[in-house]
C-alpha cells in the first residue's frame, strides 16, 4: 500500500468515507473494515501504532453504541428492542470503518511524499507545500523549546499542571519569530513561490494506482447499492 500514490489514496479514502456516511449497512462497514485490515497487514504496518489509534476510536464507538442503544426513539423501543440494538451496532461499526480508512492512509503514507504528491497531482501551490514541510521539520525544535520553557517556569517556582497553557503562550511568541526567520532563509536560498522550478522527486500515477482507485471505490459503491439498508 505504501507504493500507491498518496493523492490517489487520499481521494479513495475520502470517497469511501462519503459512501459510508450515506449508508446504513453493517455489511458495507464490515467490508471496509476487513479490507482495510487486510491491506494494512499486506503492507507491514506496525500494529502497536494501529492499536494506539484504536483506543480513542473505541471510546468514541462505545459512547455512540450506548447512546444509540438507550436513547433511540422511545416509540420504537416500545414496539421491539431489536432495531435499537441494530442501530447501535451499525453506528459503532461506522466509527470503526472511519478509523480503519484513516489508519490505512496514515500508517502507509510518508508525509513528505504526500506533500510532493499534492503538489504534482492536486496542484497545491509550492509556496504552501514547502511552508508545510518547513513547519513539519520544525516540530522537533518546538518540542525542545516547549521542554525548556516548562523548565523555566518550574525553576521560577510556578506550579504547572501538565495541561497548563502558560508555557504554550511563551513558546508561541518564540515560534512566531522562528517562522519569520525560516521564511527569510528559504527566500535567501532562492525560493520563489511562483517562479519556475525543477523537481527532483515527482510522484507519478501508475497503472496500479488507477486500478486501486477504481477497484476500491467501485467495490464499495457496489455494496452500497446492493445493501443500502440494514437487512431485518
Amino acid at each position: 500500500m505504501s507504493k500507491v500514490n498518496p493523492s490517489i489514496k487520499a481521494v479513495t479514502v475520502l470517497i469511501c468515507g462519503l459512501f459510508i456516511s450515506f449508508s446504513y449497512s453493517p455489511y458495507l462497514n464490515g467490508y471496509v473494515i476487513i479490507t482495510c485490515l487486510i491491506l494494512m497487514a499486506g503492507s507491514g504496518v506496525k500494529w502497536t501504532s494501529a492499536g494506539k489509534i484504536l483506543i480513542p476510536a473505541t471510546l468514541a464507538a462505545a459512547s455512540l453504541f450506548f447512546s444509540a442503544l438507550f436513547h433511540t426513539n422511545p416509540d420504537q423501543i416500545a414496539a421491539s428492542s431489536t432495531p435499537s440494538v441494530h442501530n447501535a451496532v451499525q453506528l459503532e461499526l461506522r466509527i470503526y470503518a472511519y478509523s480503519a480508512l484513516g489508519m490505512l492512509f496514515a500508517l502507509t503514507t510518508d508525509s513528505e511524499e504526500f506533500i510532493y504528491s499534492l503538489m504534482h497531482q492536486l496542484k497545491l501551490p509550492p509556496k504552501f507545500a514547502y511552508g508545510v514541510l518547513a513547519a513539519y521539520h520544525l516540530l522537533p525544535a518546538m518540542k525542545r523549546e516547549y521542554a525548556s520553557v516548562r523548565l523555566a517556569y518550574k525553576i521560577k517556582g510556578y506550579h504547572l499542571s501538565p495541561f497548563s497553557l502558560r508555557p504554550v503562550f511563551s513558546m508561541l511568541v518564540n515560534t512566531m519569530h522562528w517562522s519569520e526567520n525560516v521564511a527569510m532563509a528559504m527566500e535567501s536560498k532562492g525560493f520563489d513561490g511562483d517562479g519556475p522550478r525543477s523537481y527532483f522527486l515527482i510522484p507519478e500515477v501508475r497503472w496500479f494506482d488507477k486500478l486501486f482507485f477504481i477497484g476500491y471505490t467501485g467495490g464499495t459503491a457496489v455494496l452500497l447499492f446492493l445493501f443500502p439498508h440494514f437487512p431485518v
Binding site: 521539520h137 526567520n181 525560516v182 532563509a185 532562492g190 525560493f191 522550478r197 525543477s198 527532483f200
Partner: protein
C-alpha cells in the same frame, strides 16, 4: 568592480515608529574581497545586511529611501531567485535556516529553486557537500548536528546557487574557536578558487585577523564609523573599538586577585550522566566541587555536554553517583526546594520569560519566592533591583523587545531576586557584543564578592574564562578536568 553598493538607506521596522534603524546608511564592497563588518549590539548591522540582500523590506519593515545594487543590478527589480544567484545569506541561528530534515534534501531544495536539471541534482548536491567535507552528513537528521556542523551545512546551501557573493550574519556566535577557524579556512578557499565575495558580520574581529582584507566599523544606525581597518593598522583603533564595545583581540585582561573559595556549594562524586535514558554515557566519573564566593568557568567545545551537566544539577537528567548540594543529596531534595537555592540563565534567555512586561517579570518572581513582602514592598524592591541592573527605563517594555544583552541581564536578575545562591549561566556571551558581556560579568563578580554566590558559567571562550573565572575546569572527552584552581 563594485560588488555591492547601497546608498542613503533609511529604514524602519514599524510604520508608526519615528525611530529609524538605518539612518542614511551607505556601504560599498569590492568584488572578490573578504570584508568583516563590526559593530556593537543594536547598531543595525544585521538590518543593514538584510536590507542589502533584499530580505527587507520584502519580509517586513519599510525602506523610506535609498538605492541598492548588487553586481550592477538593481535589487528591487530582481526576484528572490535571481538575487540569490548574486548574493546569498546565512543567518545567525543555524537552527532556523532549514526547511528540510537532511542536508541532501535541503541542497536539492536549493537546486530546485534555481530550476537545476533533475538528472544532475544528486551529483551536484554531493559535489557541494564534498567541498565542505560534509559528505558523511548528507543523510543525517539536521536537528542532530552540532552548531558548527549546522553552520557548515548552511554554508553548503548558501553556495548551492553558485552565488558571486555570500553574506554571513554572525556565523560563529555559538561555535568553538577550532570549528570557527576551520570554517574560515573553507571560506578563504572558496574566495580564492571562485572569487566569491565574502561579507561577514561579527562581534569578534580576532576570528578573521589573518583572513579579512578589510574590517569596517559601524557606528549608530548603520552608518560607517571607520573603514579600511586591517590587521596591520588595527592597533591604531584600539580605543575606538573599546568605546564601541567591540571585543578587541585580547581585551579581557586577566586579573590576578582571584577570590578565595568559600564553603562547598555543589560536590560531585563519581557521577556519570546519560543524554537520554537509553543513550550512551555523555559524561562519566565526574568528581569535582564548586564553591561559594567564586566564579567557575566550564570550558568545552560545542555539543560536549555542558548544558546537560547544568540540567543534571537541576535534577532534569538521570545520573549515577552522588551529587550533593549544600551537603544534601540532590536525589533527595524536592524540586521546589531545589529551585529556591539554584537558578539558571539559558543560552537563549528569551526562552525563559514568563510575563510580557519587564516590571511584572520581577514582581511575579518576588511574589512566588518572597511571600513575606507586601505588595508595596515588592514594587519598591523591584524598582531598586531594576535600577541596579540599569533596566528601569525599560520597565514597561516587553522582555522580548529588549536587546540580547538586556534580556540576559533581566534573566539573571529574575533568577536571583528570590535569593538563590547558586547561579548557572549557559554560554553568557551568545549573541551579544563585548560590552554587554563585560557589564554582566562585572555585575556578577560584585554580587559574588558581597553576597557570597556560587556562579558557574559555561563558555568556549578561553579569554573570557581567564578574565572572569576564579577557577576553570574543562570537559575533555567525557571527563571534567581542572585547568586553573
Amino acid at each position: 568592480m563594485k560588488f555591492l553598493e547601497v546608498k542613503n538607506l533609511n529604514f524602519r521596522y514599524f510604520q508608526q515608529s519615528k525611530h529609524l534603524i538605518l539612518d542614511n546608511a551607505s556601504l560599498s564592497i569590492e568584488q572578490g574581497t573578504i570584508t568583516v563588518i563590526l559593530g556593537s549590539s543594536g547598531c543595525g548591522k544585521s538590518t543593514l545586511a538584510a536590507v542589502c540582500a533584499g530580505l527587507y523590506p520584502d519580509n517586513g519593515g519599510e525602506l523610506l529611501s535609498g538605492t541598492r545594487t548588487i553586481a550592477g543590478h538593481d535589487v528591487d527589480s530582481m526576484t528572490p531567485t535571481e538575487r540569490s544567484r548574486y548574493l546569498s545569506y546565512t543567518f545567525q541561528n543555524p537552527d532556523l535556516q532549514f526547511c528540510m530534515d537532511t542536508l541532501r534534501k535541503e541542497l536539492i531544495f536549493c537546486l530546485e529553486n534555481h530550476n537545476y536539471p533533475r538528472e544532475h541534482m544528486e551529483n551536484m548536491a554531493e559535489e557541494i557537500a564534498r567541498r565542505f567535507s560534509m559528505e558523511s552528513f548528507l543523510d543525517r537528521q539536521l536537528s542532530t548536528l552540532s552548531g558548527g556542523e549546522k553552520q557548515k551545512a548552511a554554508l553548503c546551501c548558501a553556495l548551492a546557487s553558485q552565488p558571486r557573493g555570500i553574506l554571513l550574519d554572525e556565523p560563529f556566535s555559538n561555535i568553538d574557536p577550532q570549528t570557527s577557524s576551520q570554517i574560515i579556512d573553507l571560506l578563504k578557499r572558496q574566495n580564492q578558487e571562485h572569487k566569491t565575495t565574502i561579507i561577514a558580520i561579527d562581534h569578534h574581529p580576532e576570528h578573521w585577523l589573518d583572513t579579512a582584507d578589510e574590517f569596517i566599523l559601524l557606528g549608530e544606525k548603520g552608518c560607517i564609523l571607520k573603514r579600511g581597518i586591517t590587521k596591520e593598522n588595527m592597533t591604531n583603533f584600539r580605543e575606538l573599538f573599546q568605546e564601541k564595545g567591540i571585543v578587541y583581540p585580547g581585551i579581557f585582561s586577566s586579573f590576578s586577585n582571584a577570590l578565595k573559595a568559600g564553603k562547598t556549594a555543589i560536590s560531585l562524586e563519581n557521577v556519570s550522566i546519560r543524554q537520554g535514558e537509553k543513550q550512551d554515557i555523555l559524561l562519566k566519573h565526574l568528581s569535582h566541587t564548586f564553591s561559594y564566593g567564586q566564579i567557575t568557568a566550564v570550558i568545552s567545545p560545542s555539543g560536549a555536554g555542558k548544558t546537560t551537566l547544568f540540567h543534571t544539577f537541576l535534577k532534569q537528567k538521570h545520573f549515577d553517583g552522588s551529587i550533593k548540594l549544600d551537603g544534601k543529596e540532590l536525589k533527595k531534595i524536592k524540586e521546589r526546594d531545589l529551585f529556591r537555592s539554584i537558578g539558571i540563565v539559558f543560552q537563549n534567555p528569551s526562552e525563559q520569560f514568563t510575563t510580557t512586561n519587564v516590571f511584572t517579570e520581577i514582581t511575579e518572581t518576588l511574589k512566588i519566592w518572597r511571600q513575606e513582602l507586601s505588595e508595596q514592598e515588592r514594587q519598591k524592591e523591584a524598582e531598586q533591583l531594576l535600577k541596579e541592573y540599569s533596566l528601569w527605563s525599560y520597565k514597561n517594555y516587553s522582555p522580548y523587545m529588549l536587546s540580547q544583552g538586556q534580556q540576559r541581564r533581566l534573566a539573571v536578575l529574575s533568577m536571583l531576586c528570590g535569593g538563590q545562591k547558586i547561579l548557572l549561566l549557559d554560554e553568557p556571551t551568545y549573541g551579544q557584543d563585548g560590552r554587554s558581556t563585560i557589564t554582566i560579568m562585572e555585575q556578577l563578580r560584585k554580587k559574588v564578592m558581597f553576597e557570597n554566590l556560587c556562579v558557574i558559567f559555561s563558555t568556549h571562550d578561553h579569554q573570557l574564562a581567564n578574565a572572569y573565572a576564579d577557577t576553570i575546569c574543562a570537559i575533555k572527552g567525557k571527563e571534567l578536568v581542572n585547568v586553573k584552581s
